[in-house]
Symmetry: C2
Subunit: 227 residues, 2 copies
DNA sequence: GAGTTTATTTAGGGATACCTAAAATTTTTT
DNA sequence: AAAAAATTTTAGGTATCCCTAAATAAACTC
């Protein structure tokens, strides 16, 4: 039995590091600590441990954070696949609402078997994106290709389709959902205010203009429509 | 946030104690240790802790084991409800086989929310028994009444219906499954050997006689048909 | 009912993942 | 380039749940 038991919290570290390194070169101790809600000192300790597992799952360098090794990335993708398949499953098969799935998935992702993963994947028709628009890694852990932009980088005149909304914050999800901003929604940018980085935009169909700050627009990813 | 975080392993202790006290007055340190696969000394430590939680969830007396308090029983029933609903769900909705559900349920039971519980209960039509024939506590934690006997207490001439089979041992479940012994099967007792407590019996339909030892017959519960 | 066997508890430790406070290093500002 | 600020690490500690070995208590047996 080569158990080598990696505890659950390790999976959380990996997920977090994966997430951070999708936009940064390496994940810093502080970023990880903030994201996980633990003290930086605790992160340092854990990172050292992760770097000493055989094979190492992170590349750790004192004072400059970590990056995932190929092994670590594989493990992270496995957890992410679990998470997103579960979100999909909760929504499609158990009837959860868009904004209710994340917390539940966060707990379930650590305990489901490969069997469970395969069965829900099949039941869902091997989807490539979850209810928030996040891409689901394939069974062999390849990320489906996708070309998107954070909404905050759009400018007046451009039109786009919402692809994904980061799912960490249920309140924000609920709010956006009320505004009609969910994956597949069409948006048109009306105005941009460089002072505060606010964007004024129009949701397909509706007449209303919505003004959103960068705190929100950086969490929404869109695909720009060709002009 | 009155979290009062009861850890997962506490739930395992409760489930085990519930199980033992369904046939014994109190659960002894050793019985619990054996069932959980830990050293008796570890159990002593945990039992003391459980007895000192406010409100206490077990009644602990030195050298004479524990019984659940009403609070402890409520918590145990909650976990058992989770477990059995999940088993049902895995079998009915995800297509697991009878003997594959237990391990998965053992991991999932600790992490699902009330929301999840309610949704799968509804999806399953609020069942009162799981795939092994075990009764599922209702939402308000009442056990459905049921009058059954362990198969080992049956004697020649009697007929009965299989109600439940204890689900701890997948190998045994698979074996019984091959013999056709699953919940709802009709049985007729043909012979009883007091020397070794073996029972010879006939499964409905089939011609074959099956001989089972007490190790197995004590794990199968039946309802005797009125003569 | 004294001695043996079995069951349980006490005592002393280990691993994990967290914490705070202080020290060290790196980065930024002036 | 020195001082100030921010980040990261080290050091020392906590709590949980597990372990083994030794001590004690309860249950049998003759």
């Amino acid at each position: 039995m080569m158990d080598e038991k990696i505890t659950h919290t390790v999976e959380d570290y990996l997920k977090t590091i994966y997430d951070i390194t999708s936009t940064h070169d390496r994940a810093s101790t502080n970023q990880i600590a903030e994201s996980l809600g633990v003290a930086p000192a605790s992160v340092t300790g854990m990172l050292k441990k992760l770097a000493e597992i055989d094979p190492p799952i992170v590349d750790y360098q004192r004072h400059r954070g970590v990056a995932l090794t190929p092994e670590g990335e594989k493990m992270a993708l496995e957890v992410i696949r679990h998470h997103r398949l579960i979100e999909m499953f909760l929504q499609q098969i158990l009837g959860y609402k868009w904004d209710e799935v994340h917390g539940e998935a966060d707990r379930l992702e650590h305990v489901i078997s490969e069997e469970f993963e395969e069965r829900i994947a099949r039941a869902l028709g091997d989807p490539s994106h979850d209810p928030h628009g996040d891409p689901i890694p394939s069974k062999d852990l390849q990320m489906p290709p996708s070309s998107f932009l954070p909404l905050c980088e759009m400018r007046p005149g451009q039109e786009a389709v919402v692809l994904r909304v980061r799912d960490e914050n249920p309140e924000m999800l609920r709010y956006l959902s009320e505004l009609g901003i969910i994956p597949n929604t069409d948006l048109k940018i009306v105005e941009y205010s460089p002072l505060d980085d606010n964007l004024s935009l129009q949701v397909s169909g509706s007449e209303k203009r919505i003004v959103l700050g960068p705190r929100i627009t950086s969490e929404i990813y869109v695909k720009v429509n060709p002009a």
